[in-house]
């Protein structure tokens, strides 16, 4: 559908939505309290992480129950660089991304031989073992062991009339925009089609000339990179890293996020992030006693009732309206 506009060229509906979203996103920190801005920063962080997981699991069909480990890796990269070597916070983000890209690729190589449930099992083991690895006493000099590492809050660059929370939000927003554009181009292009082909018909894909092994490992690497960048941003936002924050439940939360948000969907990452950030707070109000049970019910409910997630439901509603 094309809207008339003043440039003489058609502006698609999607572009309008994106522009509106961008305007809202930029205005929010000035309208809501600092606390909400902080929460929205976390939403952006989770959105990047979920996009990463979605590339691997949604588009490429490789199930990962251990993505919390890559999030942790990114977070610790930032913390160690900032705390031990005094690297400025913005410079740590690309480093965290690069480290996780390599780590993910290296993990993806042996993972090539694992299918479906077995890969889920292997990544589950990674997710469970991660906190213990982070606490390992030989690494304590860098990781701070169980005490964790405290990070200084970045302040806005000179001259900008923003408070630290707002500045952090915009910084995260900018990086999120970059990551989402990156993800979008990846998915829309040949790589994305190859990933989906591998997911749906991997034997046929191989037969057609797609180098399965390379793409699958790359998918792991890229996915880890996204989640690692998210971890780095998350560490800066929270200003603290400790091993026990990165346990198996974090990986499970990410899984919930992409299922609820919508598998194989870029907007799904955003919906999922909103879900995993705000629903535990709501569940807490319903029943202090069993918040995870409610989480679990939501998980299963979405699998039954909305298997394409919120993103799929939105697509369905908008396409129906367009048709009518």
């Amino acid at each position: 559908m094309v809207c008339p506009c003043f440039w003489g060229r058609g502006v698609s509906r999607r572009t309008l939505i994106l522009v509106a979203l961008a305007i809202v996103a930029c205005a929010l920190p000035f309208i809501v309290s600092n606390y909400r801005t902080f929460q929205l920063t976390l939403v952006l962080v989770y959105a990047i992480a979920l996009l990463g997981l979605n590339i691997l699991t949604g588009y490429n069909g490789q199930i990962s129950l251990g993505h919390g480990a890559f999030y942790a890796l990114g977070a610790y990269c930032t913390a160690i660089l900032m705390d031990r070597w005094g690297v400025p916070y913005w410079a740590t983000i690309p480093v965290a991304g690069a480290v996780c890209l390599v780590a993910g690729f290296l993990f993806g190589l042996p993972a090539l031989r694992l299918e479906g449930l077995y890969l889920a099992l292997a990544t589950f083991a990674l997710g469970v073992a991660m906190p213990q690895l982070l606490k390992y006493h030989l690494l304590e000099k860098w990781t701070g062991g169980v005490q964790g590492i405290v990070i200084m809050k970045p302040s806005p660059p000179l001259g900008l009339p923003l408070n630290p929370d707002q500045w952090l939000y915009f910084f995260t927003l900018a990086i999120a925009a970059v990551m989402f554009i990156l993800g979008y181009n990846l998915i829309r292009g040949r790589t994305g089609r190859a990933l989906v082909a591998i997911r749906d018909q991997h034997i046929a894909a191989e037969a057609m000339g797609i180098h399965n092994a390379l793409y699958k490992s790359l998918a792991f690497g890229v996915s880890a990179m996204f989640t690692g960048v998210a971890g780095a941003l998350g560490a800066v936002a929270v200003q603290f890293v400790a091993p026990d924050s990165f346990n198996i439940f974090l990986s499970i939360v990410f899984l919930v996020g992409i299922v609820v948000g919508g598998l194989a969907s870029i907007s799904g990452a955003l919906y999922g992030a909103l879900f995993i950030q705000f629903v535990p707070n709501i569940a807490d109000e319903i029943s202090k006693a069993a918040p995870w049970a409610i989480f679990g019910v939501f998980m299963i409910g979405f699998v039954y009732l909305m298997p394409t997630g919120v993103a799929g439901a939105v697509r369905l509603i908008t396409s129906r309206r367009r048709a009518s």
């Binding site: 213990q132 606490k135 062991g145 005490q147 964790g148 200003q239 890293v241 924050s245 535990p280």
Partner: protein, 398 residues
Amino acid sequence: MKALLVGVMAAALAAPAAAQKKYDTGANDKEIKIGNTNPYSGPASAYGQIGKAIAAYFKMVNDQGGVNGRKIDFVSYDDSYSPPKTVEMARKLVEQDQVLFLFQTLGTPSNTAIHKYMNTMKVPQLNVATGATKWNDPKNFKWTMGWQPNYQTEGRIYAKHIMATRPNAKVGILYQNDDYGKDYLKGMEDGFGAQASKYIVAKVSYEVSDPTVDSQIVQLQASGADTFFNITTPKFAAQAIRKAYDIGWKPVQYLNNVSISVGSVLTPAGLDKSVGLITAAYLKEPTDARWANDKGLEPFRAFMKKYMPDANIADNFNIYGYTVGTTLVAALKQCGDDLTRENVMRQAANLKSLRIDTLLPGILITTTPSDYAPIEAVQLQRFNGKQWELFGDVMTSQ
């Protein structure tokens, strides 16, 4: 006559000043809003019982008229023992719910995560529920205060006791591989000082996710240790005590204070297997036969019956919550009508030999502006198969 007039005028002028009310956000004529985070879900959810006990205690206080006529509004959020969540909930409490202060936030990493924030925002982080040593630092972190005897103090006391009673002891240590375990370990190592390597022959850790610590106990026995410092949480403490007995290892065993409950730890382990255990305590243990008829515990038992009828009185988190709640109420009462954050902190740092009957006899709560450790005294006690027997004097780490 003139003097009398001046006197009366002075009194008239002074009275309104004394009755002047000062509030910060979170306090008013009717209520005091207090914030808290506890792990009600996730792997550390056993500790969430403390939050429940405190909530029930404040309910009782409110039913009895509140503090200086004000009701306590206790807002407690779940942080799943995850520091990022603690940061989020703390910010919510301070910035959105506008509480007067935070009380008994639980967990060392959780409190570390919000340490700087609370002090930057100048909001009291009172009586944190962790035994780490770093909360007693009024010079650098004037808004943060602990409550329980810190773990390192306890470890040091055990070390000193070993050095005094059995100078040739060989000590084996089992510790949980997290901040709590390592803090105790450091305490004992510091207590031995330069002789640590002479005394400590084995240090073995375990993870909360380990199914059993049986392998670790076997390792400790193999090390030749004849003294055992058992730094474990209740479930693993019971396993360790039982396994040591079963494999015929009979060290002199020091059990950390977190796991001293007769009902929750020693009974599952086996009372006969727990004979000879030494621990340092500061709270009375309600299921211990020695306090069965104690008058001082009657209000607590009545409280449990009325306000927490489904809870297990043997779970020492309940008496812990009751006692720390009582401490806070005492400090708040001292605040009178000046409920600014500054004054709350000032009064919390101004408790003079406060005596609470759920504490062991001889243990008093004292704070000063340079001493932010409310409880520093403990007393050693030994288990005789039926109850804990206090021995020696009330000790401090000095």
